[in-house]
């Protein structure tokens, strides 16, 4: 999906293609533009081409076709060490034979910076990631989270304007990961750097990014801010991939502006918002978020269609209740309800009726 509406382009992928074996394309016609200071996440399942894109930008892979531009200059033929792009690797790649300070000093040394200036910058970078006291340690003496901070500091110490991160939090435990997400985001905002972040963790993508590019099959499926991505998926892959999602299959009966009626395969009729269906008779897959499903009749909008449902399972998850229903032949239909004082706990075997606002239900490609 082309994205040509951004002014002040800093990083540009222009019709970039990549093939390793000359037979299949790993990246198919990639067009992407980043303004200065943006935090962009490339999200997708493994093998979707997101890491290849990052490696092409870093210079470790060459584009088979197309142009990659940095600040308006094509960097296709510039070797990686002259691109001035900071990078944080999946396993941190801290040099094990150097101390933390030496690791940080390395990019400054190869830039022939003076000793006092080097020390000053190393100190500032370490303070920035709150690791000022660890300069003399070896990477092996640090915990995973500390190594992560050092890797970040090293990518930032030579004041790169563009920093690439390749699944940098993959090896951390959940709590630390969440903490580091905010930390990275804060530092990136403070310094005003441009970040291209690769992950397969959608929570990470949603919490950190200005925009997320969802990759699948070598293409960007959708490029949008997190809220738009979640609430208005443009196709069924994005709907499936981002967050939890209920799908029901059927045929479009009628389209009327931003309202469509869909007849499900079991014969029931529901209301939906047409996203990428264009005419009646088309097969469609409707998608609805579990938390937007309503079973309390009082709260349902008048006149919308409702469906009969049977409660199969009730799971208590602390902050929310997760209830599995059988709806229109689909027994994997999930609804999520907040654990509020007045919330009803649905018992398995109960017959209920569910419904939703038509604009929360998206009729997507089949």
């Amino acid at each position: 999906m082309a994205d040509k509406n951004v002014d002040n382009a800093f990083v540009e992928f222009d019709r970039v293609q990549k093939s390793y074996d000359g037979e299949t394309l790993v990246v198919k016609d990639l067009n992407l533009t980043l303004p200065r200071g943006e935090f962009l996440t490339m999200l997708g399942p493994s093998g979707s081409g997101k890491t290849t894109c990052l490696m092409m930008l870093a210079g470790f892979e060459t584009a088979t076709y197309g142009d990659i531009r940095l600040g308006g200059v094509s960097i296709n033929n510039i070797p990686p060490h002259k691109r001035g792009i900071g990078m944080v690797f999946q396993n941190y790649a801290l040099f094990p034979h150097m101390t933390v300070a030496e690791n940080l000093s390395f990019p400054l040394e190869v830039r022939k910076m003076g000793k006092s200036e080097r020390e000053q910058k190393v100190k500032r970078a370490l303070d920035m990631v709150q690791m000022g006291a660890f300069g003399g340690r070896r990477p092996a003496q640090l915990s995973g989270g500390q190594q992560q901070r050092i890797a970040l500091a090293r990518a930032l110490v030579f004041e790169a304007e563009l920093v690439l991160m390749d699944e940098p939090l993959g090896a951390l435990d959940k709590q630390l990961r969440e903490h580091m997400q905010f930390e990275i985001k804060r530092i990136a905002d403070d310094l005003g750097i441009t970040v291209v972040y690769v992950t397969h963790d959608q929570t990470e993508a949603l919490t950190m990014s200005d925009r997320v590019a969802v990759f699948n099959d070598g293409r960007i499926q959708q490029l949008a801010p997190p809220d738009k991505l979640y609430e208005e998926p443009e196709n069924s892959f994005v709907a499936q991939f981002i967050g939890e999602n209920n799908t029901l299959e059927g045929v479009v009966q009628e389209i009327n502006g931003n309202r469509a009626t869909v007849q499900l395969d079991g014969g029931e009729v529901i209301d939906a918002k047409p996203v990428n269906v264009s005419k009646p008779g088309e097969r469609t897959r409707v998608s609805i978020r579990p938390e937007r499903v309503e079973y309390n009749k009082d709260r349902l909008q008048e006149g919308v269609h409702t469906l009969k449902a049977e409660v199969l399972e009730f799971i208590y998850m602390g902050d929310i209740f997760r209830t599995r229903l059988k709806v229109a032949g689909n027994d994997e239909f999930i609804i999520k309800t907040r654990n509020a004082p007045d919330q009803v706990r649905l018992q398995p075997g109960t017959q209920i009726e569910i419904g939703w606002l038509p604009e929360d239900c998206h009729a997507l490609d089949a």
């Binding site: 870093a58 210079g59 470790f60 070797p79 990686p80 060490h81 002259k82 691109r83 001035g84 792009i85 900071g86 990078m87 690797f89 999946q90 396993n91 790649a93 040099f95 094990p96 034979h97 390395f106 990019p107 190869v110 830039r111 090293r154 990518a155 030579f158 690439l164």
Partner: protein
């Protein structure tokens, strides 16, 4: 139920009340014994067939019992002689030498001693050999006098036997003789010999009794003859003459009543016609070299049971009368050989690093299929005999060989100026570098395999060019592999034998070739053992230095 606080007061105890440590040791003992039993066959095998022979061999580098075993009396007599003076030893030393050497010559041990002393003093070997043959002539002077001038009966073995036998027997003299001959020949000298020296005659003629006992033991056990039927050795006549020349013997014979008393008195009656007893003159007549102070100094210096002589020899020194001193310039060879061995081994090690590093890098970084093919090529030499590989280098490098032919054909080298590339140091270095290369490549490869490619990428992304990224980031992490490979190659090279022997000529041989020469050709095992011990110590020393500098923990052979 035991209260937990009560348990804390004494040492920790197990549930049955025994101390916990003891209980633990008992429970682990069975496991340990079982583990030990499993490795026992190998342990015993290694101890018996490998370690024990090595230590026995190394012990030979200080062992020096031959001089004192062969010439015990001479060594004792030399004690009071000043080796640093200019005066040759006195009569007592020469007398002791005569009887020692006579026994040694009978046991055919004197030439071995000559060979041994020849390591230290050139020429002693022939001195001992020629003297051994002439010892009979010395004793015959008195034998002839007794038989011709006194009484023919002195030439009869049975008369001597009767005279020397007697009751009560002097077992001490016989045991001495047995021990003496046992040390000399290495055989057990126990068993009935049909002779026992009489106490009376032994007291009258002590020297004669000793020599006759030795003669009797040797004749009965080594030659398996009957003592009474054999004519005594010339040494017995010499001993008899010596006993007669002692003051007081003549008077004692006067009062002697045993067998042969009459004949003895007849001898005493003609004592003034007896040829003079002067062993020193006798040896001077045999060979003037016996008057050389240097020869005697060598015998004295090497008469101790343990010697540092082999080790001094191995570092181009020798034991002089005043302690260790440098050997003459033209006899110095071993330090030069040690130096050459070390330097060439270092050159070979560095060549292996230079050639092996890129190959190991390729092995670690190529795709698996091609890396496997390359690995087979690296291992291929292991499937070929060492001799074949070395011989192949002979074919390649000789003056009429492949490389010279190609160079001549290309016109780079003139036909009459073909390069000499074999039978010198160059040949040895080339062939050994090739042969030892896999030992460098394999440890390097296993270390390089563990270095993730992301380090190089990280370095480049941080702004380092290819060379800086390699030198500052990749190379330091591959150093443990270089260390492991270098230790392997260097230690293998320093003791290498076959290849330098085949392609080394005279300038490209190692110390190991010299050791082999002393083991199999010159038979100077003591020196070979000393050279081997020094080589072993040098390796251990280098290993220790390496451990201090690099740290043996940093050496990785894999993983």
């Amino acid at each position: 139920m035991t209260d937990a606080t009560q348990e804390q007061t004494g040492p920790m105890v197990a549930a049955d009340g025994t101390p916990l440590k003891k209980s633990l040791a008992r429970s682990l003992r069975n496991q340990k014994m079982r583990a030990l039993a499993l490795i026992a066959p190998l342990l015993i095998f290694v101890l018996l067939t490998f370690l024990a022979p090595i230590f026995d061999m190394l012990f030979r580098s200080v062992e020096n019992q031959m001089v004192s075993d062969t010439l015990p009396e001479t060594v004792a007599a030399l004690d009071s002689w000043d080796a640093s003076g200019t005066e040759e030893p006195g009569e007592d030393v020469f007398r002791a030498l005569y009887f020692d050497l006579f026994l040694a010559a009978e046991a055919k041990e004197h030439t071995k001693l000559g060979t041994r002393l020849n390591y230290e003093q050139v020429g002693i070997s022939s001195l001992f050999r020629t003297s051994g043959r002439s010892l009979d002539d010395v004793g015959e002077v008195w034998q002839d006098w007794l038989e011709d001038d006194v009484d023919e009966i002195w030439g009869e073995g049975s008369f001597w036997y009767d005279m020397m036998s007697g009751e009560p027997a002097d077992e001490a003299v016989l045991d001495d003789a047995r021990d003496r001959m046992a040390t000399l020949t290495g055989d057990s000298m126990r068993g009935d010999i049909g002779f026992a020296p009489g106490e009376a005659i032994s007291a009258l003629l002590p020297r004669t009794a000793r020599e006759y006992a030795a003669f009797a033991v040797f004749t009965a056990i080594e030659d398996e003859d009957v003592v009474a039927e054999e004519d005594p050795w010339e040494a017995v006549y010499a001993a008899f003459a010596y006993d007669l020349s002692q003051p007081g013997t003549a008077d004692a014979i006067g009062s002697y009543t045993g067998t042969g008393a009459d004949q003895l008195q007849a001898v005493v009656a003609q004592l003034d016609t007896m040829p003079p007893v002067d062993f020193k003159a006798a040896f001077a007549a045999i060979d003037q070299d016996w008057m050389s102070v240097e020869n005697w100094a060598a015998i004295k210096v090497y008469s101790s049971r343990y010697t540092s002589g082999y080790f001094l020899n191995a570092v181009d020194m020798q034991l002089g009368p005043d302690g260790p001193e440098a050997r003459p310039e033209n006899q110095q060879i071993y330090m030069m050989l040690f130096r050459r061995t070390l330097v060439m081994s270092l050159v070979i090690t560095f060549s292996c690093i230079a050639l092996g590093y890129p190959v190991a890098w390729l092995l670690a970084n190529l795709p698996a299929r091609r890396a496997n093919l390359l690995m087979i090529l690296v291992l291929l030499p292991f499937w070929t005999s060492l001799l074949v590989r070395t011989s192949a280098w002979k074919v390649m490098l000789q003056q009429q060989g492949v490389i010279n032919d190609v160079l001549v054909w290309l016109g780079i080298v003139a036909d009459d100026a073909r390069l000499v590339m074999i039978n010198n140091q160059f040949g040895t270095i080339v062939a050994m570098t090739h042969i030892l290369l896999p030992f460098m490549i394999l440890p390097l490869y296993s270390v390089m395999q563990t270095i993730p490619p992301s380090y190089l990428r990280a370095a480049k992304s941080l702004g380092a060019n290819n060379w800086t990224a390699f030198w500052r980031v990749y190379f330091p992490q591959s150093v443990p592999g270089i260390g492991a490979g270098s230790i392997l190659v260097f230690i293998l090279a320093i003791g290498y034998y076959i290849t330098p022997e085949l392609v080394g000529g005279t300038t490209g041989t190692f110390i190991s070739n010299r050791i082999a020469y002393h083991i199999s050709s010159s038979l100077n095992w003591g020196l070979a053992a000393a050279l081997g011990t020094i080589l072993l110590l040098v390796v251990l020393l280098l290993y220790w230095v390496y451990d201090r500098i690099v740290g043996i923990d940093n050496v990785k052979l894999g993983g």
